[in-house]
């Protein structure tokens, strides 16, 4: 008898029971995904490179915009290949490509993250409003989504930049204002089915208002697809930013960014392969890492999806 009571005591000992959230479970699956973890490591390296870009400049002794017309160029005025002083070679103005790639990572990541955040915030809020409020709001927003998706992005970007002049703000705004529509469409679709669920009616019967239901009850249920889409959106934004720079619509020179470097290499790559290869590789590795990581996130959040 006493033994039984003691056992009960052991079981009844107060313990904090932490529920496993769907998010925590997804994180656990993600941690087991080798490809995703390697991609994450690469992403971390790139982020570190961006943060410690000044260290690259200090170690090599070459500031990013310093033109070494004497030691950085051949007597004919052509870029120099990789060597002991310039590890990844120089560009047409005798600047250190390695240091410029490191500084370029700052631009790519900054634009990638900020433009994506803007995109996702606008997309989620408008998608939620359209899907949940329905009626005239939905009709208007759904048409707006269609319009934004059908506008030729590059043409508008070129027109806009020719008016305002190239700058980081314009790049971010242009990307943000034209990418939200697809996020909004995804969120709207999810919300349309979620709002018919009984827990929404339950919230209403408790006296919850529209905004509370939207942000407290529905939003947590669309977070998973939004996170997946976000990780897959970052590389798209980085490439878009590089594209704009390549077309001369990015950042005004001499700021180092990858698209601009590739653009500058156009007249030299037949003789100076390193000039186009290394910035191109930086862009490729970054987008690949984000894409593979995004795939991993998608699999982690939706374990039923086929891994083919």
């Amino acid at each position: 008898m006493t033994a039984a009571i003691e056992m009960v005591d052991v079981i009844d000992e107060p313990q904090v029971i932490e529920g496993r959230s769907p998010f925590a479970l997804a994180l656990r699956r993600l941690r087991k995904d080798k490809v995703a973890m390697i991609s994450l490591a690469v992403i971390v390296l790139i982020v570190l490179m961006a943060i410690f870009a000044p260290v690259f400049a200090a170690v090599t002794g070459h500031p990013p915009n310093e033109q070494y017309r004497d030691i950085g160029l051949t007597p004919d005025g052509l870029p120099r290949g990789p060597n002991g002083t310039f590890w990844l070679g120089t560009d047409d103005l005798g600047r250190d490509i390695l240091v410029r790639i490191a500084y370029g990572a700052r631009i790519s990541l900054l634009v990638g993250v900020i433009a994506t955040v803007i995109t996702v915030v606008i997309g989620v809020v408008l998608g939620l409003a359209a899907g949940f409020l329905g009626g005239i709001t939905d009709t208007l927003l759904a048409r707006l989504i269609d319009v934004v998706l059908s506008v030729p992005f590059l043409l508008v970007a070129i027109a806009l930049v020719s008016v305002t002049g190239p700058s980081l703000t314009v790049t971010v705004l242009v990307i943000g204002c034209f990418s939200w529509a697809s996020v909004a469409r995804i969120v709207r679709g999810q919300v349309l089915s979620l709002r018919e669920r009984e827990f929404v009616e339950a919230a209403r019967s408790l006296g919850a208002g529209d905004s509370r239901i939207m942000f407290v009850d529905i939003l947590p249920n669309v977070i998973a697809p939004v996170i997946v889409y976000t990780t897959l959106l970052i590389p798209v934004v980085i490439v878009t930013q590089a594209t704009l720079s390549f077309l001369g619509l990015g950042l005004p020179p001499p700021t180092a960014d990858w698209g601009g470097m590739i653009s500058e290499s156009q007249n030299y790559y037949t003789t100076a392969w390193w000039f186009i290869l290394f910035p191109g590789l930086a862009l490729l590795i970054t987008t690949l890492a984000f894409n593979l990581f995004g795939d991993g996130v998608r699999d982690a959040f939706d374990p039923r999806a086929d891994r083919t």
């Binding site: 029971i17 408790l206 919850a208």
Partner: protein, 337 residues
């Protein structure tokens, strides 16, 4: 016992369909819910019980008619004006899987009523939630768990805890046990009746299962195709069944004793429940009624005491059954005489 808490007066609820027709989910229902009682509401799937429940809780705007709570017409109240009343009228939903938000922790789900009405926050809310969890038989330590980590019965307890958080006067139970195993059904029903005694609750208890309703209800309303066909105190509904539809429902109840089960009257209704977009004229049940006569198709019977019934026992039928009448041999006769 006799004070009226909720009064439903000729409520209609129509839903538009895509093809410009309307579904008459509730087609003119009047009833009263008295303080402290349990009013059962039974009927087949699709007869409008849940729509009526949602009209009572003002989750739907009624098409016509009115709902009075404590002498106040709540049908025209805006969502904002309705908010204080939400504390007094609560709903327990049918599907314990659908009515709890899968992405939120149980503690915050049960805490919703407190945060929506700004009653308690922080540690005070947590304490209240844990008290509620204990009250409905859940382990308060599971405060941080997600709904997916509970069984169906436990989830329904969560739904009960949430509904009772603000000590409502009226709880509308919309098929609270239909989605549960029979053994769990009993637990939840017992929990509900314990809570009724403890907090002096009034229930509207909806179910398609007459045996469940019989067990919990003081009075029972039988619905068919958006209308109440018979409304009576539980004992009278079973003892002096007046409406052929009610009798048919009763005959479908399982009986534990196989000997009586074999000899028992079996009434099998022909056909399906007619479409609510185009309900039959006259008595809505005449297309399936074994006692149907020509005037049943022409005129609609009124819900009123029939034969020698007390005023509490009301039936909408021109040819009510007498006690002991054998319905299984009755034949409908819809020929013009």
């Amino acid at each position: 016992m006799n004070e009226v808490l909720l009064k439903v007066d000729d409520v209609r609820k129509e839903f538009p369909t895509s093809s410009k027709e309307v579904v008459q989910a509730v087609a003119g229902v009047s009833l009263e819910v008295r303080k402290g009682e349990t009013l059962g509401l039974v009927g087949e799937t699709g007869c409008g019980k849940s729509s009526l429940a949602r009209c009572m809780a003002h989750l739907y705007d009624v098409t016509s008619g009115s709902v009075w709570f404590e002498g106040r017409d709540i049908t025209k109240l805006s969502r904002k004006a309705m908010r204080p009343l939400r504390r007094d009228v609560q709903v327990i939903f049918q599907d314990p899987y659908g009515s709890l938000n899968p992405r939120r922790r149980v503690g915050s789900i049960i805490g919703d009523p407190f945060s929506i009405h700004n009653i308690a926050s922080g540690n005070e809310r947590k304490k209240k939630v844990q008290e509620l969890m204990e009250l409905v038989g859940l382990n308060p330590e599971h405060y941080n768990r997600f709904p997916a980590e509970f069984s169906g019965g436990q989830r329904q307890r969560i739904g009960v805890a949430r509904a009772l958080a603000l000590r409502p006067k009226l709880v509308i139970c919309d098929e609270p046990v239909s989605a549960l195993d029979v053994s769990i059904q009993a637990q939840i029903i017992n929990l509900l009746s314990d809570l009724q005694q403890e907090f002096d609750l009034t229930y509207v208890f909806i179910s398609h299962d007459l045996s469940v309703v019989r067990h919990v209800s003081d009075r029972i309303a039988v619905m068919y195709l958006g209308k109440i066909v018979e409304l009576a105190p539980t004992g009278e509904l079973f003892g002096q069944t007046r409406h052929p539809y009610t009798r048919a429902l009763l005959s479908a109840l399982p009986v534990a004793d196989p000997d009586t089960a074999d000899s028992r009257e079996q009434i099998i209704l022909g056909g399906d429940i007619p479409s609510a977009t185009n309900p039959p004229a006259g008595c809505r049940f005449h297309t399936r009624c074994p006692k149907a006569r020509l005037d049943c198709a022409a005129e609609e019977p009124v819900l009123e005491p029939v034969l020698d019934d007390r005023p509490e026992h009301r039936t909408a039928c021109f040819y009510p059954l007498t006690v002991g009448e054998d319905l299984s041999t009755a034949v409908p006769d819809l020929r013009a005489s």
